[in-house]
């Protein structure tokens, strides 16, 4: 058997299993000493056999085996704590090479991990601060919007129409409309009261000539004031004008004449 004629896999298996007769082992051992390829193949064979070995049914370790082992270590020369076999024991004199450096390697690894965690914590802290600032800003905006809305919709808010001194109060309404968002606010003053069976209804007169779009129902309070805030509307309806009619209490699909208030949208 030379380096060029490698050991067969079958023989390597049998060699690894130690089932070859002594006279058969000798040439294989000689070849292995000089052939790294076959040594690698032998390692693979032993690896497979390791799993075969571990497939044995489990047998319980005899009671006291651990204590006997710990005691044996404790009584051996070089044991750091011979009087206490139950504690973790490591030899002192024989430690060298990899085992000496392992604790330091572990410390180094822990430091790397800790540094990585510290960086991560710092990043998360910065991100948290940024998010908190965003939330604070939004909360401020939301609070202001809420106050505006509360003011517009408060039943006890005072509504005052300022006119020339001699003018008689007349019904009027002011609409603010944003077609792109379908958002509308209407504030009406000096409206006449309507029977219980009736209601005011606001209409958007589209700029494209399509039929009027119902934009919400409202009834005035005792002072003749009424608000209509953000009624549900389709988006993108450009308004040519607005009109208010009196309809039955549930509202109508089409306006009923007469139009009691009307106004042309700005820009038309």
């Amino acid at each position: 058997m030379t380096e060029r004629t490698h050991i067969s896999r079958e023989d390597l298996d049998l060699f690894a299993m130690q089932v070859l007769d002594p006279q058969e082992r000798v040439p294989i051992e000689a070849h292995l000493r000089q052939c790294s390829e076959c040594r690698a193949a032998l390692a693979r064979a032993r690896g497979d056999l390791a799993f075969l070995t571990m497939s044995v049914e489990e047998t319980a370790l005899p009671s006291g085996a651990r204590d006997r082992f710990a005691a044996r270590i404790a009584q051996s020369p070089g044991s750091p704590e011979p009087q206490n076999p139950a504690v973790e024991l490591t030899p002192v004199r024989r430690r060298s090479g990899v085992w000496v450096w392992m604790p330091w390697a572990a410390v180094a690894a822990l430091l790397i991990v800790a540094t990585g965690l510290e960086i991560k914590v710092q990043n998360l802290t910065r991100e948290f601060a940024r998010q908190a600032e965003t939330i604070r800003t939004r909360a401020g905006s939301d609070a202001r919007a809420r106050r505006v809305l509360d003011l517009l919709t408060a039943g006890d808010a005072q509504h005052v129409l300022l006119t020339s001194a001699n003018a008689h109060p007349v019904p009027s309404a002011r609409a603010v409309y944003l077609a792109s968002r379908g958002a509308l606010i209407l504030q009406a003053t000096n409206l006449s009261r309507v029977p219980e069976s009736k209601t005011y209804e606001l209409w958007i007169i589209p700029a494209n000539g399509k039929p009027p779009v119902p934009a919400g129902l409202f009834r005035p309070d005792a002072s003749g004031n009424a608000n209509l805030v953000l009624p549900p509307l389709p988006t993108g309806v450009q308004a040519k004008a607005f009109g208010i009619t009196v309809e039955r209490s549930g509202g109508s699909a089409t306006p009923t004449l007469p139009i009691v208030l009307s106004g042309t949208a700005s820009g038309e």
Partner: protein
């Protein structure tokens, strides 16, 4: 070291007991091996495969040596395993071992007996042939076929 003993001694004892079938002898082999490992911590390095697999092979070989009542065939330092024995975790290891057990249970009777006699009873292939009355080539083929099945299980 006691932590290593706690983790692997049960497995090592099971392997050695499977070979020796004697509690006192088995414990001696296991204690000797772990004591030797404690005295020679450099003998095992990660490039020798997983510690568990390495201990399994070494303790089995030691037990066979005791059974045959002769000096060790392999020195412990010579036993090197491939990195593939470094399975990711205990769950994966148990899964692999269970696959091997299943394959062994499903082997043809002659193959299983041949492997058990060779691997756990310490008989050489010629001794197996003598005991069973089968030709030496047949014994080899049975062992080889059984190992092929085991390898297939390890791959799958």
């Amino acid at each position: 070291m006691t932590a290593i003993f706690d983790r692997y001694a049960g497995m090592a004892y099971s392997v050695a007991f499977r070979v020796l079938k004697d509690q006192a002898q088995t414990e001696d082999v296991v204690q000797d091996l772990f004591f030797w490992l404690w005295q020679n911590p450099d003998s095992f390095a990660p490039d020798r495969g997983s510690l568990g697999a390495w201990l399994a092979v070494v303790v089995r070989n030691r037990a066979i040596d005791v059974l045959r009542k002769h000096r060790p065939c392999d020195s412990v330092e010579e036993v090197v395993l491939p990195a593939s024995t470094n399975v990711a975790n205990d769950v994966e290891m148990r899964s692999i071992v269970e696959r091997v057990r299943r394959v062994l249970r499903e082997l043809p009777l002659e193959q299983r007996h041949s492997v058990e006699m060779a691997f756990f009873e310490g008989l050489t292939h010629s001794e197996i042939a003598e005991q069973t009355g089968d030709p030496l080539g047949t014994v080899k083929t049975r062992i080889r076929s059984a190992l092929m099945s085991v390898r297939k299980a390890l791959q799958g």
